[in-house]
Symmetry: C2
Subunit: 362 residues, 2 copies
């Protein structure tokens, strides 16, 4: 189902998922005079604090999903592991953006790597792992250390095991639960970067400045905008992101995470696609006139995209677990803009908030 | 009742009033991990779209107000004409900021002018008007044209009549309903400016850059940051705002509107005080790292104040009445950041949204 005309102010957007991304989407929607209706399978989701309505239900509850989709003008999703069936049910009552294909590709590492490779875009060496024998052979073929990753449901470094030797390969397969997986060759890179792209319903694509990311324990720690990379690498990163959103006929924000290699095989290789607003784009709230969240809302509602211009340099630092307990000191730091997600329990590894520091544009 | 410690993230702020100012306060609170509970005497207030809870009740409903105040950690107000009694009822159950004195002074033009004058700060010539005879005499004493303004409940140019002649003075008194009023001498000025000040519970005061305002038909049309005034005028404007928030022992944001006079009697005179977040501070959302709304929330919650630094020059234009129907064109303008308030009916003179244009800092 497509939108015939832009959703006017006063309309309601439906968001599947109620985490911090849904919360920041709801805030962005409110700036445009739009309401948000959250659908979450957990009670008291952070996004419901700023939503006009919240429905709590399972993602396979046909009736609850239909009622939710009937009540809104458009449906979107704030996490990538949404079941295809959920999108299908919602899609009977309301237009759904991004399109199901974007989720299908991003949800399965093998499908994702095949999809990106077929576009002629480099990825790390990879092999499908479907049984106990294949990791050993695949590792041998790759001729170096590798990471065994589950094809589905991995995030923030979960469902991943490093593999250095053939004997490790077998135990790794057991560690991740013997599920369909991908063995990925370890790529030496200088830098991790990402591009936040947004594509409208009319096919127009826009890109925020490329950012440089640092992960710790598999979780994003900081993003720096702009990345300290050459103009030609910026151009290449945007070209790659543009090819991906175009091939997917994506609508909304999409993040492409890449590695920059230097030395004998320089250039960018794609690591991962996230068909949604992304943690490495949170800096856009403070450093851009129109944030990734507002541009996602604009895209799914059929509005013209907003400018992706950046007025300041920015460094975003995540507040993970107990980090958020430092809020009194962070609030007192004149250089820090504090964002807290309203989560009651600061579990280890849980994203509780982030801090953005702005600097005059370099 | 004072706060003994800063209200921690996860707490709820109560806002009396549910208009666009409450809406933007709720959005700012959400960034700090705080929830908002709106109390409004009108159904479906714009702020409830982004509030965790909304209570609809009259401002003299003791029981409803007590239940509201019992449910929150602190109470604030988004409009200045809140009855003193309402603040008193709320104050039995929760700390209330700004303090009642700020409202008492700002609600009555005569009290306001006396208060400002007693601080040694210039105001326009004024006289209290309490009966049919006094306007004629006061106008004669002033020796020039004047404006008769009701002492209470005036806003956006309402409750004001221009008076040029003594015979007009009497009919003006009838036009505004024969209520206690103030006759204000018309002051020739070069420019209207305003200062958004914020004062914390520890007495620290901060100021946003002085802005230059243009009114049309008594309603703010545009604000430009920074104002095109001399450094010494900037200094004087901040000194005045600082003296006012200090004398009131104000907590939260407060706006001082002033006229800049040039020629034989140069300098600033105070026109009006608004003890709340203010339309002439909306540009801070887009041009500052911490907006007036966030700083108000920080102040009332006992948090350290955030920086008032401005990273960009800005021009804010209000969308009044039908102006908001231009949203498709405004959304397509890459220089404009659009803010819509979610009001269903675009009545003439009604503030429906605003647009901020950013420019590199001059």
């Amino acid at each position: 189902m497509m939108l015939k005309a832009p959703l006017p102010p006063g309309s309601t957007i439906g968001v599947l998922g109620g985490g911090q991304l849904g919360r920041m989407l709801a805030v962005a929607a409110s700036r445009l005079g739009l309401k948000t209706h959250i659908y979450s399978d957990e009670a008291n989701p952070p996004a419901s604090d700023v939503a006009a309505a919240t429905a709590i239900g399972r993602y396979d509850d046909d009736r609850a999903l239909a009622a939710f989709a009937d009540a809104v003008g458009v449906v979107t999703c704030e996490f990538e592991n949404i079941p295809a069936k959920t999108l299908e049910i919602a899609g009977r009552s309301a237009p759904v953006f991004p399109p199901p294909k974007s989720f299908a590709v991003a949800q399965d590492r093998l499908v994702e790597k095949d999809f990106v490779s077929e576009l002629g875009i480099p990825v790390a060496p990879y092999a499908a792992i479907d049984d106990l024998d294949s990791p050993r052979q695949a590792l041998s073929d790759m001729g170096g250390p590798a990471i065994l990753k589950t094809r589905r449901f991995g995030y923030d470094g979960k469902g991943q095991v490093f593999v250095h030797t053939e004997s490790e390969a077998e135990s790794a397969w057991e560690t991740i639960g013997g599920v369909p997986s991908v063995l990925e060759g370890v790529v030496r890179f200088e830098r991790e970067v990402s591009v936040i792209a947004v594509r409208g319903q009319d096919g127009e694509a826009q890109f925020y400045d490329v950012v440089e990311n640092v992960h710790q324990s598999g979780i994003l720690a900081t993003s720096r905008a702009p990345a300290r990379i050459s103009d030609s690498t910026v151009f290449e990163a945007r070209r790659i992101a543009g090819a991906i959103v175009e091939a997917l006929q994506h609508v909304g924000v999409l993040c492409v995470e890449m590695f920059e290699r230097e030395g004998e095989a320089p250039g960018l290789i794609v690591n991962e696609i996230a068909p949604r607003v992304h943690n490495s784009g949170h800096w856009t709230i403070d450093a851009c006139q129109v944030s990734q969240f507002e541009n996602h809302v604009r895209a799914i509602c059929g509005w013209p995209l907003g400018t992706t211009n950046r007025h300041s340099d920015a460094v975003m630092t995540n507040l993970i677990g107990d980090d958020a307990n430092q809020w009194p000191a962070l609030a007192a730091d004149p250089g820090a803009t504090v964002h807290l997600y309203g989560k009651s329990e600061a579990r280890p590894g849980r994203k509780m908030g982030h801090v953005t520091r702005l600097f005059p544009k370099s």
